[in-house]
Point group: C2
Chain length 288, copies 2
Amino acid sequence: MCAPSVIEKVRQRISRRDLLKSTGVAAAGALAAGCQSTTKAKAAPATEPISFTQVVDLSHTLHPDFPAWFVPGVPHEGRFLPPAIVEVERVMKFEEVRLNLNKVSYWEHVGTHMDAPSHFSEGSTVEKIPAEDLVLPLAVIDIKAKAARDPLALLTLEDVKAWESKHGHIPERACLAMNSGWAHHVNTPKFKSLNADGKHQQPAFHIDAIEFIKEERNVVSIAVDTFSFDNLHSPESDVHYAWLGDERWGIEIVNNLDDVPAMGSTIVVGQPKIQGGSGGPNRVMALI
Amino acid sequence: MCAPSVIEKVRQRISRRDLLKSTGVAAAGALAAGCQSTTKAKAAPATEPISFTQVVDLSHTLHPDFPAWFVPGVPHEGRFLPPAIVEVERVMKFEEVRLNLNKVSYWEHVGTHMDAPSHFSEGSTVEKIPAEDLVLPLAVIDIKAKAARDPLALLTLEDVKAWESKHGHIPERACLAMNSGWAHHVNTPKFKSLNADGKHQQPAFHIDAIEFIKEERNVVSIAVDTFSFDNLHSPESDVHYAWLGDERWGIEIVNNLDDVPAMGSTIVVGQPKIQGGSGGPNRVMALI
């Protein structure tokens, strides 16, 4: 998703925290080990085998009318103008040359997609995220009830703690997903829920929940079924800066979270390995 | 990869075969069941759980100098002119607006990528392939020894039978991969192995092996570590028409097949779900 202009305070806060962290044992240990992981999550311990019998598709189909946080062809906050959600131009046609081939173009953060650390920092681009970080235990927190009442509902620290009281700690090296029910609205105006000022309204993570999972749990990725980790009503993008700016990544506009359990499945993030990417459309699946 | 002009005979042969097949019990059964699968492979039986402890990256990083079956900016067989392998234009810069975002463009069949049925037929595009068909038992046939001696080496029916004499039948609903060793050459001239006429030379599938796995085994996908399922020395693209034209799909330019066993791992094909795609860059991984 897109973001702010008034974020200097957030940036400064992150820089100070990173400076402190870089003197810590965990960071030094990771460097000493020559760890390739781009996340700050701790390395995987020797694990029990992961088993599954079922595959669930967590990606939406990306098409020219798919909703985005911008309107194609219209300047966004005076800053830029993506001409389209995605362009698929059939440059070779089976009926003419007996094969089909498209030219595909997109501005990266459309459809079900990754936000790499570099989207909101000078951190890693997509190709630097190792495959072993793309297959993770999936924890799903359901906030559908309050999101149905309030399009600005937030997944709070209390929601995390309530989830943990039922399921135990968020698993080591997890992907933590918010299920707000927004995936059901993806091809309706409800997905944007514009307010009187034309601003998007959508459920998102509360910054306190993010700080908790950063500091107290070993979470590799976050995921949301909305446009953005941040409540778009606020211009500060606190969650993006706090999470991506800490050399972490996440996924936005995830589908079908109703079809996976709160705990016990595995998420697979099929992120094309395009050099320099700050994120982009991908195929996300759950193994159950 | 790209293809022929003299393929009418192949097309006719495929059409006749499809006509015959459409009267068969398997095809009728699939239709009657309203099966969503885009492949002609039989549906998955109730399976034992699949287990893994390790993830191997089977995708190469896609960058502007990545080799392709065309030369950017140069007409290919007089027919078309892709301007670049991939273009990643940073349209928003962190140092200016405190976030990075790229415009990404490519002609689909570059890097590690899928060929959907529609690439060489009027069949299904990528978004029609269901997620359960993207997670498959992986069988790897190693032809590195003969490929090292001959860049036009083919994976033959005899190679399939020799593999089966060691490992048993190719598993139900498998992805069958050719490991020719070509992944090691990807950033060297050896990957194209141009002959005196400037034609690519590379290992590929023999059409007889393809006909065997179509008719006698239940194979969902094929995969190669080269540009193409077909030996590019021949202009007929028999394998593409026989396989993709039969409403099947595959993956080209796969990486790291040396790091997976001949039998027993699971391939995951993270194919972005872009409406109308004839294939395109993806993230492929193996679960071991």
